[in-house]
Amino acid sequence: MNGTSTQPDPNERAELARLLPGPVERDLPRDRHQRLQEFVMSRIHQDLRSAEQAPRRSPKRWPVFLASALTAVAVAAAVTFVAVGHDSGPAGAPPAPGSSSTPINGGRTMSTRQMLLAAATSAERRPATDGAYWRVRTLREVRVGKVDHKQILEDWYGKDGYYWQGTLTLDGTGGPSGPASIYRDKKKSSRPFELSDRRFTLAEIKGLPTTTRGIVKWASGVARHVSPDWRQYDIDGFTTDLLIQLLAEAPATPQTRAAAFRALAGRPFVKNAGRAKDEEGRTGYALRIDGTRYLIDPSTATLLSESTTADGKYGATTYLKAGWTNEAPNPPSGH
Protein backbone atom coordinates (compact mmCIF):
# COMPACT_ATOMS: atom_id res chain seq x y z
CA MET A 1 0.00 0.00 0.00
CA ASN A 2 2.71 2.46 0.86
CA GLY A 3 5.29 3.68 -1.57
CA THR A 4 8.25 1.69 -0.35
CA SER A 5 6.73 -1.70 0.33
CA THR A 6 7.94 -4.52 -1.84
CA GLN A 7 4.66 -6.33 -1.39
CA PRO A 8 2.21 -5.80 -4.19
CA ASP A 9 -0.37 -3.19 -3.44
CA PRO A 10 -3.38 -5.27 -2.38
CA ASN A 11 -5.73 -2.96 -4.24
CA GLU A 12 -3.69 -3.18 -7.39
CA ARG A 13 -3.56 -6.93 -7.16
CA ALA A 14 -7.25 -7.27 -6.37
CA GLU A 15 -8.00 -5.07 -9.32
CA LEU A 16 -5.81 -7.16 -11.61
CA ALA A 17 -7.39 -10.35 -10.33
CA ARG A 18 -10.80 -8.87 -11.10
CA LEU A 19 -9.79 -7.88 -14.61
CA LEU A 20 -7.98 -11.04 -15.54
CA PRO A 21 -9.35 -14.39 -16.44
CA GLY A 22 -8.13 -17.08 -14.09
CA PRO A 23 -4.84 -18.66 -15.00
CA VAL A 24 -4.78 -21.52 -17.42
CA GLU A 25 -2.89 -24.25 -15.67
CA ARG A 26 -1.86 -27.64 -16.75
CA ASP A 27 0.78 -30.21 -16.09
CA LEU A 28 3.36 -31.11 -18.61
CA PRO A 29 2.07 -34.43 -19.97
CA ARG A 30 3.87 -37.27 -18.20
CA ASP A 31 5.70 -38.57 -21.25
CA ARG A 32 6.85 -35.07 -22.16
CA HIS A 33 7.94 -34.45 -18.57
CA GLN A 34 10.16 -37.53 -18.75
CA ARG A 35 11.46 -36.78 -22.18
CA LEU A 36 12.36 -33.16 -21.43
CA GLN A 37 13.91 -34.12 -18.12
CA GLU A 38 16.05 -36.82 -19.72
CA PHE A 39 17.02 -34.39 -22.43
CA VAL A 40 18.13 -31.75 -19.93
CA MET A 41 19.93 -34.31 -17.78
CA SER A 42 21.75 -35.80 -20.76
CA ARG A 43 22.96 -32.33 -21.71
CA ILE A 44 24.09 -31.69 -18.17
CA HIS A 45 26.04 -34.96 -18.03
CA GLN A 46 27.49 -34.29 -21.44
CA ASP A 47 28.58 -30.86 -20.23
CA LEU A 48 30.19 -32.39 -17.14
CA ARG A 49 32.07 -34.95 -19.25
CA SER A 50 33.40 -32.35 -21.65
CA ALA A 51 34.34 -30.10 -18.73
CA GLU A 52 36.44 -32.94 -17.35
CA GLN A 53 38.14 -33.46 -20.67
CA ALA A 54 38.68 -29.82 -21.48
CA PRO A 55 38.19 -27.50 -18.56
CA ARG A 56 38.27 -24.43 -20.79
CA ARG A 57 35.79 -25.18 -23.47
CA SER A 58 35.55 -22.71 -26.25
CA PRO A 59 31.95 -21.74 -26.79
CA LYS A 60 30.61 -23.20 -29.96
CA ARG A 61 27.41 -21.85 -31.28
CA TRP A 62 25.52 -22.15 -34.46
CA PRO A 63 22.12 -21.01 -35.49
CA VAL A 64 19.23 -23.37 -35.40
CA PHE A 65 15.63 -23.27 -36.40
CA LEU A 66 13.26 -24.66 -33.84
CA ALA A 67 10.40 -26.72 -35.11
CA SER A 68 7.97 -25.00 -32.80
CA ALA A 69 5.00 -23.05 -33.95
CA LEU A 70 6.48 -19.80 -32.77
CA THR A 71 9.26 -20.00 -35.28
CA ALA A 72 7.25 -21.45 -38.11
CA VAL A 73 6.96 -17.91 -39.41
CA ALA A 74 10.68 -17.71 -39.99
CA VAL A 75 11.55 -18.11 -43.61
CA ALA A 76 14.85 -18.35 -45.36
CA ALA A 77 16.01 -14.86 -46.09
CA ALA A 78 15.96 -13.72 -49.65
CA VAL A 79 19.16 -12.06 -50.76
CA THR A 80 17.61 -8.91 -52.11
CA PHE A 81 14.48 -6.86 -51.92
CA VAL A 82 12.64 -6.76 -55.18
CA ALA A 83 11.06 -3.38 -55.49
CA VAL A 84 8.10 -3.53 -57.79
CA GLY A 85 7.60 -0.02 -59.06
CA HIS A 86 3.87 0.09 -59.55
CA ASP A 87 3.22 -1.53 -56.19
CA SER A 88 4.21 1.58 -54.32
CA GLY A 89 0.94 3.47 -54.32
CA PRO A 90 -1.63 1.62 -52.25
CA ALA A 91 -5.07 2.63 -53.37
CA GLY A 92 -6.91 4.83 -50.92
CA ALA A 93 -4.28 4.56 -48.23
CA PRO A 94 -3.30 7.81 -46.62
CA PRO A 95 0.45 8.22 -46.69
CA ALA A 96 2.23 9.23 -43.52
CA PRO A 97 2.08 12.95 -42.97
CA GLY A 98 4.73 14.61 -45.04
CA SER A 99 5.59 11.45 -46.85
CA SER A 100 6.26 11.17 -50.49
CA SER A 101 5.26 8.04 -52.27
CA THR A 102 8.31 8.10 -54.51
CA PRO A 103 9.85 4.69 -54.25
CA ILE A 104 13.52 4.78 -53.49
CA ASN A 105 15.44 3.08 -56.20
CA GLY A 106 12.09 2.15 -57.70
CA GLY A 107 11.99 -0.82 -59.98
CA ARG A 108 15.39 -2.16 -59.06
CA THR A 109 16.57 -4.41 -56.31
CA MET A 110 17.87 -3.08 -53.03
CA SER A 111 19.61 -4.99 -50.30
CA THR A 112 18.61 -4.54 -46.68
CA ARG A 113 21.76 -2.60 -46.14
CA GLN A 114 21.16 -0.32 -49.10
CA MET A 115 17.61 0.30 -47.96
CA LEU A 116 18.72 1.24 -44.44
CA LEU A 117 21.47 3.49 -45.76
CA ALA A 118 18.92 5.18 -48.03
CA ALA A 119 16.69 5.69 -45.00
CA ALA A 120 19.65 7.22 -43.16
CA THR A 121 20.23 9.69 -45.98
CA SER A 122 16.54 10.66 -45.97
CA ALA A 123 16.62 11.05 -42.20
CA GLU A 124 19.50 13.50 -42.38
CA ARG A 125 17.64 15.67 -44.84
CA ARG A 126 14.57 16.08 -42.70
CA PRO A 127 14.39 19.30 -40.72
CA ALA A 128 14.53 19.36 -36.94
CA THR A 129 11.17 20.35 -35.46
CA ASP A 130 9.95 21.55 -32.09
CA GLY A 131 6.81 22.06 -30.01
CA ALA A 132 5.34 21.77 -26.53
CA TYR A 133 4.47 18.09 -26.80
CA TRP A 134 6.02 15.16 -28.53
CA ARG A 135 3.06 13.19 -29.79
CA VAL A 136 3.17 9.59 -30.97
CA ARG A 137 0.00 8.24 -32.53
CA THR A 138 -0.17 4.49 -33.04
CA LEU A 139 -2.69 1.93 -34.09
CA ARG A 140 -2.49 -1.20 -32.01
CA GLU A 141 -4.16 -4.28 -33.36
CA VAL A 142 -4.44 -7.70 -31.79
CA ARG A 143 -6.20 -10.48 -33.60
CA VAL A 144 -6.85 -13.74 -31.82
CA GLY A 145 -8.92 -16.09 -33.93
CA LYS A 146 -11.94 -14.10 -34.94
CA VAL A 147 -11.56 -11.56 -32.17
CA ASP A 148 -10.07 -8.40 -33.55
CA HIS A 149 -9.10 -5.69 -31.13
CA LYS A 150 -8.03 -2.29 -32.46
CA GLN A 151 -7.08 0.80 -30.55
CA ILE A 152 -5.66 4.16 -31.41
CA LEU A 153 -3.16 5.18 -28.78
CA GLU A 154 -1.72 8.65 -28.49
CA ASP A 155 1.23 9.35 -26.26
CA TRP A 156 1.87 12.99 -25.42
CA TYR A 157 5.22 13.67 -23.82
CA GLY A 158 5.18 17.18 -22.48
CA LYS A 159 8.19 19.39 -22.10
CA ASP A 160 6.53 20.25 -18.79
CA GLY A 161 7.33 16.71 -17.64
CA TYR A 162 3.80 15.34 -17.75
CA TYR A 163 2.91 12.30 -19.78
CA TRP A 164 -0.55 11.78 -21.26
CA GLN A 165 -2.04 8.83 -22.97
CA GLY A 166 -5.18 8.94 -25.06
CA THR A 167 -7.08 5.87 -26.18
CA LEU A 168 -9.77 5.27 -28.73
CA THR A 169 -11.10 1.77 -29.22
CA LEU A 170 -12.28 0.95 -32.71
CA ASP A 171 -15.03 -1.43 -33.71
CA GLY A 172 -15.06 -3.93 -36.53
CA THR A 173 -15.60 -1.27 -39.16
CA GLY A 174 -12.72 0.87 -37.95
CA GLY A 175 -15.05 3.44 -36.41
CA PRO A 176 -14.97 4.40 -32.74
CA SER A 177 -16.75 1.85 -30.55
CA GLY A 178 -17.06 4.29 -27.66
CA PRO A 179 -15.87 7.67 -26.53
CA ALA A 180 -12.16 8.39 -26.63
CA SER A 181 -10.41 8.89 -23.33
CA ILE A 182 -7.25 10.54 -22.15
CA TYR A 183 -5.44 10.51 -18.86
CA ARG A 184 -2.44 12.23 -17.45
CA ASP A 185 0.15 10.59 -15.27
CA LYS A 186 -0.28 11.93 -11.79
CA LYS A 187 3.39 12.44 -11.25
CA LYS A 188 5.59 14.84 -13.04
CA SER A 189 8.65 13.05 -14.30
CA SER A 190 11.90 14.56 -15.34
CA ARG A 191 12.45 11.44 -17.41
CA PRO A 192 9.22 11.22 -19.32
CA PHE A 193 10.44 9.54 -22.49
CA GLU A 194 10.17 5.82 -22.37
CA LEU A 195 11.96 3.56 -24.82
CA SER A 196 12.13 -0.18 -24.30
CA ASP A 197 10.95 0.47 -20.77
CA ARG A 198 13.88 2.72 -19.98
CA ARG A 199 13.22 6.36 -19.20
CA PHE A 200 15.08 9.30 -20.66
CA THR A 201 15.08 13.05 -20.40
CA LEU A 202 14.49 15.15 -23.47
CA ALA A 203 18.02 16.50 -23.16
CA GLU A 204 19.40 12.97 -23.15
CA ILE A 205 17.51 12.08 -26.31
CA LYS A 206 18.43 15.28 -28.08
CA GLY A 207 22.04 14.82 -27.08
CA LEU A 208 22.34 11.24 -28.35
CA PRO A 209 25.38 10.41 -30.49
CA THR A 210 25.23 11.19 -34.17
CA THR A 211 27.69 8.60 -35.39
CA THR A 212 26.99 4.96 -36.12
CA ARG A 213 29.55 3.74 -33.67
CA GLY A 214 28.43 6.23 -31.06
CA ILE A 215 24.77 5.29 -31.18
CA VAL A 216 25.53 1.56 -30.95
CA LYS A 217 27.81 2.24 -28.01
CA TRP A 218 25.06 4.19 -26.30
CA ALA A 219 22.38 1.54 -26.93
CA SER A 220 24.55 -1.36 -25.85
CA GLY A 221 25.60 0.64 -22.79
CA VAL A 222 21.94 0.95 -21.81
CA ALA A 223 21.43 -2.77 -22.55
CA ARG A 224 24.31 -3.76 -20.29
CA HIS A 225 22.62 -2.17 -17.34
CA VAL A 226 19.27 -3.89 -17.71
CA SER A 227 20.17 -7.14 -16.02
CA PRO A 228 23.33 -8.54 -14.46
CA ASP A 229 22.35 -11.97 -15.79
CA TRP A 230 22.34 -10.95 -19.42
CA ARG A 231 24.95 -12.33 -21.74
CA GLN A 232 25.98 -10.99 -25.09
CA TYR A 233 22.98 -12.44 -26.95
CA ASP A 234 20.53 -10.68 -24.68
CA ILE A 235 22.48 -7.45 -24.84
CA ASP A 236 22.64 -7.60 -28.63
CA GLY A 237 18.90 -8.17 -28.87
CA PHE A 238 18.06 -5.35 -26.51
CA THR A 239 20.47 -3.03 -28.31
CA THR A 240 18.72 -3.63 -31.61
CA ASP A 241 15.28 -3.22 -30.02
CA LEU A 242 16.33 0.05 -28.45
CA LEU A 243 17.62 1.41 -31.77
CA ILE A 244 14.29 0.51 -33.36
CA GLN A 245 12.24 2.07 -30.58
CA LEU A 246 14.37 5.18 -30.88
CA LEU A 247 13.48 5.40 -34.56
CA ALA A 248 9.82 4.68 -33.93
CA GLU A 249 9.03 6.94 -31.02
CA ALA A 250 11.77 9.27 -29.85
CA PRO A 251 12.30 12.97 -30.55
CA ALA A 252 15.88 12.40 -31.64
CA THR A 253 17.71 14.77 -33.96
CA PRO A 254 17.85 14.01 -37.71
CA GLN A 255 21.55 13.18 -37.32
CA THR A 256 20.89 10.70 -34.53
CA ARG A 257 18.12 9.07 -36.54
CA ALA A 258 20.46 8.76 -39.50
CA ALA A 259 23.06 7.15 -37.25
CA ALA A 260 20.47 4.70 -35.90
CA PHE A 261 19.46 3.62 -39.40
CA ARG A 262 23.11 3.10 -40.32
CA ALA A 263 23.62 1.16 -37.10
CA LEU A 264 20.69 -1.12 -37.92
CA ALA A 265 22.36 -1.98 -41.20
CA GLY A 266 25.14 -3.59 -39.20
CA ARG A 267 23.12 -5.39 -36.52
CA PRO A 268 23.15 -9.19 -36.31
CA PHE A 269 20.05 -11.31 -37.05
CA VAL A 270 18.47 -8.70 -39.33
CA LYS A 271 16.82 -10.48 -42.23
CA ASN A 272 15.29 -9.23 -45.40
CA ALA A 273 11.56 -9.89 -45.63
CA GLY A 274 10.72 -8.26 -48.94
CA ARG A 275 8.20 -5.53 -49.52
CA ALA A 276 4.92 -5.40 -47.66
CA LYS A 277 2.07 -3.15 -46.63
CA ASP A 278 1.13 -2.07 -43.15
CA GLU A 279 -2.36 -1.91 -41.65
CA GLU A 280 -2.85 1.47 -43.31
CA GLY A 281 -1.91 0.10 -46.70
CA ARG A 282 1.40 1.96 -46.76
CA THR A 283 4.14 0.08 -48.57
CA GLY A 284 7.54 -0.37 -47.05
CA TYR A 285 10.54 -2.63 -46.92
CA ALA A 286 10.31 -5.35 -44.33
CA LEU A 287 12.97 -6.58 -41.97
CA ARG A 288 12.58 -9.58 -39.81
CA ILE A 289 14.40 -9.81 -36.52
CA ASP A 290 13.63 -12.93 -34.51
CA GLY A 291 9.99 -13.29 -35.37
CA THR A 292 9.08 -9.62 -35.48
CA ARG A 293 8.57 -7.91 -38.80
CA TYR A 294 9.46 -4.25 -39.08
CA LEU A 295 8.32 -2.19 -42.01
CA ILE A 296 10.41 0.80 -43.03
CA ASP A 297 9.78 3.51 -45.58
CA PRO A 298 13.25 4.69 -46.57
CA SER A 299 11.93 7.67 -48.53
CA THR A 300 10.45 9.24 -45.38
CA ALA A 301 12.94 7.62 -43.00
CA THR A 302 10.11 6.28 -40.89
CA LEU A 303 9.33 3.02 -39.19
CA LEU A 304 5.82 2.27 -40.41
CA SER A 305 4.93 -0.72 -38.29
CA GLU A 306 6.03 -3.74 -36.35
CA SER A 307 4.12 -6.98 -36.22
CA THR A 308 4.30 -10.54 -35.01
CA THR A 309 2.35 -13.63 -35.84
CA ALA A 310 2.42 -16.67 -33.63
CA ASP A 311 0.01 -19.50 -33.10
CA GLY A 312 -2.93 -17.81 -34.76
CA LYS A 313 -2.31 -14.63 -32.83
CA TYR A 314 -1.44 -11.52 -34.75
CA GLY A 315 -0.27 -8.34 -33.09
CA ALA A 316 0.75 -5.15 -34.84
CA THR A 317 1.68 -1.62 -33.90
CA THR A 318 1.36 0.84 -36.73
CA TYR A 319 3.10 4.14 -36.22
CA LEU A 320 0.70 6.68 -37.66
CA LYS A 321 2.40 9.86 -36.62
CA ALA A 322 5.28 10.99 -34.44
CA GLY A 323 6.25 14.61 -34.08
CA TRP A 324 6.24 17.81 -32.07
CA THR A 325 3.01 19.73 -31.66
CA ASN A 326 1.80 22.82 -29.86
CA GLU A 327 -1.68 21.37 -29.54
CA ALA A 328 -2.86 20.68 -26.03
CA PRO A 329 -3.37 17.00 -25.25
CA ASN A 330 -6.84 15.86 -26.27
CA PRO A 331 -8.53 12.51 -26.71
CA PRO A 332 -7.66 10.88 -30.02
CA SER A 333 -10.01 11.15 -32.94
CA GLY A 334 -10.65 8.31 -35.36
CA HIS A 335 -9.09 8.18 -38.75
Binding site: T6, L19, L28, L36, V40, V144, V226
Partner: protein
Protein backbone atom coordinates in the same frame (compact mmCIF):
# COMPACT_ATOMS: atom_id res chain seq x y z
CA UNK B 1 19.37 -27.31 -2.29
CA UNK B 2 20.97 -23.97 -3.11
CA UNK B 3 24.40 -25.24 -2.19
CA UNK B 4 23.96 -28.39 -4.27
CA UNK B 5 22.74 -26.42 -7.26
CA UNK B 6 25.62 -24.01 -6.90
CA UNK B 7 28.08 -26.91 -6.69
CA UNK B 8 26.71 -28.42 -9.89
CA UNK B 9 25.23 -31.60 -8.42
CA UNK B 10 23.29 -33.22 -11.30
CA UNK B 11 20.84 -34.89 -8.92
CA UNK B 12 19.94 -31.49 -7.52
CA UNK B 13 18.99 -30.42 -11.02
CA UNK B 14 16.84 -33.49 -11.47
CA UNK B 15 14.99 -32.58 -8.27
CA UNK B 16 14.81 -28.95 -9.31
CA UNK B 17 13.16 -30.04 -12.54
CA UNK B 18 10.59 -32.22 -10.78
CA UNK B 19 9.79 -29.52 -8.29
CA UNK B 20 9.41 -26.54 -10.58
CA UNK B 21 8.67 -27.80 -14.05
CA UNK B 22 4.97 -27.08 -13.69
CA UNK B 23 5.59 -23.48 -12.65
CA UNK B 24 8.04 -22.90 -15.45
CA UNK B 25 5.84 -24.60 -18.04
CA UNK B 26 2.75 -22.58 -17.17
CA UNK B 27 4.66 -19.34 -16.81
CA UNK B 28 6.21 -19.92 -20.24
CA UNK B 29 2.81 -20.58 -21.73
CA UNK B 30 1.45 -17.33 -20.33
CA UNK B 31 4.32 -15.44 -21.91
CA UNK B 32 4.37 -17.18 -25.27
CA UNK B 33 0.76 -18.28 -25.67
CA UNK B 34 1.86 -21.59 -27.08
CA UNK B 35 2.21 -24.92 -25.30
CA UNK B 36 4.75 -26.25 -27.74
CA UNK B 37 6.96 -23.19 -27.33
CA UNK B 38 6.45 -23.48 -23.58
CA UNK B 39 8.08 -26.92 -23.78
CA UNK B 40 11.07 -25.41 -25.55
CA UNK B 41 11.25 -22.78 -22.84
CA UNK B 42 11.19 -25.48 -20.15
CA UNK B 43 14.18 -27.29 -21.67
CA UNK B 44 16.12 -24.11 -22.24
CA UNK B 45 15.32 -22.72 -18.80
CA UNK B 46 16.85 -25.71 -17.06
CA UNK B 47 19.84 -25.67 -19.41
CA UNK B 48 20.29 -21.99 -18.64
CA UNK B 49 19.92 -22.72 -14.92
CA UNK B 50 22.74 -25.23 -15.27
CA UNK B 51 24.88 -22.72 -17.12
CA UNK B 52 24.22 -19.98 -14.55
CA UNK B 53 24.39 -22.25 -11.49
CA UNK B 54 27.37 -20.46 -10.01
CA UNK B 55 25.23 -17.35 -9.63
CA UNK B 56 23.01 -19.06 -7.09
CA UNK B 57 23.88 -17.77 -3.67
CA UNK B 58 24.68 -20.95 -1.78
CA UNK B 59 24.61 -19.08 1.49
CA UNK B 60 21.12 -17.64 1.18
CA UNK B 61 19.05 -19.24 3.88
CA UNK B 62 16.92 -21.73 2.07
CA UNK B 63 14.93 -19.34 -0.09
CA UNK B 64 13.08 -21.03 -2.92
CA UNK B 65 14.79 -21.15 -6.28
CA UNK B 66 11.46 -20.62 -8.01
CA UNK B 67 11.85 -16.84 -8.53
CA UNK B 68 15.30 -17.45 -10.00
CA UNK B 69 13.96 -20.10 -12.39
CA UNK B 70 10.98 -17.98 -13.40
CA UNK B 71 13.33 -15.09 -14.10
CA UNK B 72 15.40 -17.31 -16.36
CA UNK B 73 12.22 -18.60 -18.01
CA UNK B 74 11.16 -15.00 -18.62
CA UNK B 75 14.45 -14.19 -20.29
CA UNK B 76 14.28 -17.36 -22.36
CA UNK B 77 10.71 -16.62 -23.41
CA UNK B 78 11.81 -13.23 -24.70
CA UNK B 79 13.77 -14.95 -27.34
CA UNK B 80 13.63 -18.69 -27.58
CA UNK B 81 15.71 -18.96 -30.69
CA UNK B 82 18.44 -16.74 -29.40
CA UNK B 83 18.77 -18.90 -26.30
CA UNK B 84 18.63 -22.05 -28.39
CA UNK B 85 21.62 -20.82 -30.35
CA UNK B 86 23.56 -20.53 -27.13
CA UNK B 87 22.92 -24.18 -26.43
CA UNK B 88 24.40 -25.32 -29.68
CA UNK B 89 21.10 -25.95 -31.32
CA UNK B 90 20.52 -28.84 -28.96
CA UNK B 91 16.79 -28.30 -29.11
CA UNK B 92 16.66 -29.24 -32.74
CA UNK B 93 17.60 -32.75 -31.71
CA UNK B 94 14.83 -33.01 -29.15
CA UNK B 95 11.94 -35.03 -30.56
CA UNK B 96 8.88 -32.87 -30.86
CA UNK B 97 5.49 -33.65 -29.52
CA UNK B 98 3.50 -35.43 -32.21
CA UNK B 99 0.80 -32.82 -32.35
CA UNK B 100 0.33 -30.26 -29.63
CA UNK B 101 -3.08 -31.11 -28.24
CA UNK B 102 -5.31 -28.14 -27.87
CA UNK B 103 -6.11 -27.28 -24.33
CA UNK B 104 -9.82 -27.93 -24.82
CA UNK B 105 -9.15 -31.46 -26.07
CA UNK B 106 -7.20 -32.33 -22.99
CA UNK B 107 -8.24 -34.27 -19.95
CA UNK B 108 -10.05 -31.30 -18.57
CA UNK B 109 -13.80 -31.40 -18.58
CA UNK B 110 -14.25 -27.77 -17.77
CA UNK B 111 -16.45 -26.23 -20.38
CA UNK B 112 -15.19 -22.73 -19.89
CA UNK B 113 -11.49 -23.57 -20.26
CA UNK B 114 -11.37 -22.84 -23.95
CA UNK B 115 -13.09 -19.53 -23.44
CA UNK B 116 -10.81 -18.65 -20.59
CA UNK B 117 -7.80 -19.52 -22.68
CA UNK B 118 -9.03 -17.13 -25.37
CA UNK B 119 -9.53 -14.43 -22.76
CA UNK B 120 -6.06 -14.93 -21.36
CA UNK B 121 -4.63 -14.64 -24.83
CA UNK B 122 -6.62 -11.51 -25.57
CA UNK B 123 -5.50 -9.93 -22.33
CA UNK B 124 -1.87 -10.86 -22.71
CA UNK B 125 -1.75 -9.90 -26.36
CA UNK B 126 -2.95 -6.41 -25.52
CA UNK B 127 -0.03 -5.79 -23.21
CA UNK B 128 3.50 -4.90 -24.00
CA UNK B 129 6.06 -7.53 -23.26
CA UNK B 130 7.47 -6.00 -20.06
CA UNK B 131 3.97 -5.60 -18.65
CA UNK B 132 3.05 -9.14 -19.59
CA UNK B 133 6.12 -10.41 -17.79
CA UNK B 134 5.47 -8.67 -14.49
CA UNK B 135 1.82 -9.60 -14.65
CA UNK B 136 2.62 -13.26 -15.20
CA UNK B 137 5.15 -13.21 -12.38
CA UNK B 138 3.26 -11.13 -9.82
CA UNK B 139 -0.34 -12.12 -10.41
CA UNK B 140 -0.30 -15.61 -11.82
CA UNK B 141 2.93 -17.02 -10.44
CA UNK B 142 2.37 -15.22 -7.15
CA UNK B 143 5.79 -13.60 -6.70
CA UNK B 144 5.97 -10.43 -4.66
CA UNK B 145 7.45 -7.23 -6.08
CA UNK B 146 10.92 -7.89 -4.77
CA UNK B 147 10.99 -11.43 -6.11
CA UNK B 148 9.72 -10.29 -9.48
CA UNK B 149 12.30 -7.50 -9.52
CA UNK B 150 15.02 -9.99 -8.73
CA UNK B 151 13.73 -12.40 -11.34
CA UNK B 152 13.71 -9.75 -14.05
CA UNK B 153 16.83 -7.93 -12.96
CA UNK B 154 15.02 -4.61 -12.72
CA UNK B 155 14.38 -2.22 -9.84
CA UNK B 156 11.32 -2.80 -7.69
CA UNK B 157 9.94 0.54 -8.83
CA UNK B 158 9.98 -0.68 -12.40
CA UNK B 159 7.96 -3.76 -11.45
CA UNK B 160 5.47 -1.54 -9.70
CA UNK B 161 5.10 0.85 -12.61
CA UNK B 162 4.77 -1.94 -15.16
CA UNK B 163 2.10 -3.64 -13.10
CA UNK B 164 0.26 -0.40 -12.77
CA UNK B 165 0.42 0.20 -16.52
CA UNK B 166 -0.81 -3.34 -17.14
CA UNK B 167 -3.78 -2.66 -14.91
CA UNK B 168 -4.64 0.53 -16.78
CA UNK B 169 -4.47 -1.24 -20.11
CA UNK B 170 -6.61 -4.16 -18.97
CA UNK B 171 -9.06 -1.74 -17.43
CA UNK B 172 -9.44 -0.12 -20.80
CA UNK B 173 -9.97 -3.47 -22.49
CA UNK B 174 -12.74 -4.24 -20.04
CA UNK B 175 -14.27 -0.80 -20.45
CA UNK B 176 -14.20 -1.33 -24.18
CA UNK B 177 -16.02 -4.62 -23.77
CA UNK B 178 -13.15 -6.60 -25.25
CA UNK B 179 -12.38 -8.38 -22.06
CA UNK B 180 -15.11 -9.49 -19.71
CA UNK B 181 -14.18 -9.67 -16.06
CA UNK B 182 -14.60 -13.40 -15.55
CA UNK B 183 -16.97 -13.33 -12.60
CA UNK B 184 -18.65 -16.72 -12.48
CA UNK B 185 -15.76 -18.15 -14.35
CA UNK B 186 -13.46 -17.62 -11.42
CA UNK B 187 -15.54 -19.23 -8.77
CA UNK B 188 -14.57 -22.86 -9.25
CA UNK B 189 -10.96 -21.80 -8.80
CA UNK B 190 -11.40 -19.19 -6.16
CA UNK B 191 -14.45 -20.15 -4.20
CA UNK B 192 -12.78 -21.45 -1.12
CA UNK B 193 -13.48 -18.64 1.25
CA UNK B 194 -10.49 -16.56 0.28
CA UNK B 195 -10.65 -12.88 1.03
CA UNK B 196 -11.63 -10.78 -1.93
CA UNK B 197 -8.35 -8.94 -1.98
CA UNK B 198 -5.96 -11.81 -2.36
CA UNK B 199 -7.98 -14.77 -3.43
CA UNK B 200 -6.55 -14.90 -6.89
CA UNK B 201 -3.02 -14.92 -5.67
CA UNK B 202 -3.60 -17.34 -2.85
CA UNK B 203 -5.34 -19.83 -5.06
CA UNK B 204 -2.83 -19.51 -7.80
CA UNK B 205 0.08 -19.93 -5.47
CA UNK B 206 -1.56 -23.03 -4.11
CA UNK B 207 -1.98 -24.36 -7.62
CA UNK B 208 1.58 -23.51 -8.52
CA UNK B 209 2.94 -25.37 -5.57
CA UNK B 210 1.05 -28.53 -6.31
CA UNK B 211 2.19 -30.87 -8.89
Amino acid sequence: MRARVNAGDPDAFRELFDEHVRSVYNHAFRLTGNWSTAEDVVSLTFLEAWRLRDRVDAGADGGSLRPWLLGIATNVSRNVRRTARRHDGALARLPKQEAAPDFADEVTTRIDDRERLALVRTAMAALRKPEREVLALCVWAGLDYAEAAEALGVPVGTVRSRLSRARRRLDKLVTAGRLRPPEGDREPHAGHGQGEGDRGTAVRSAQENTR
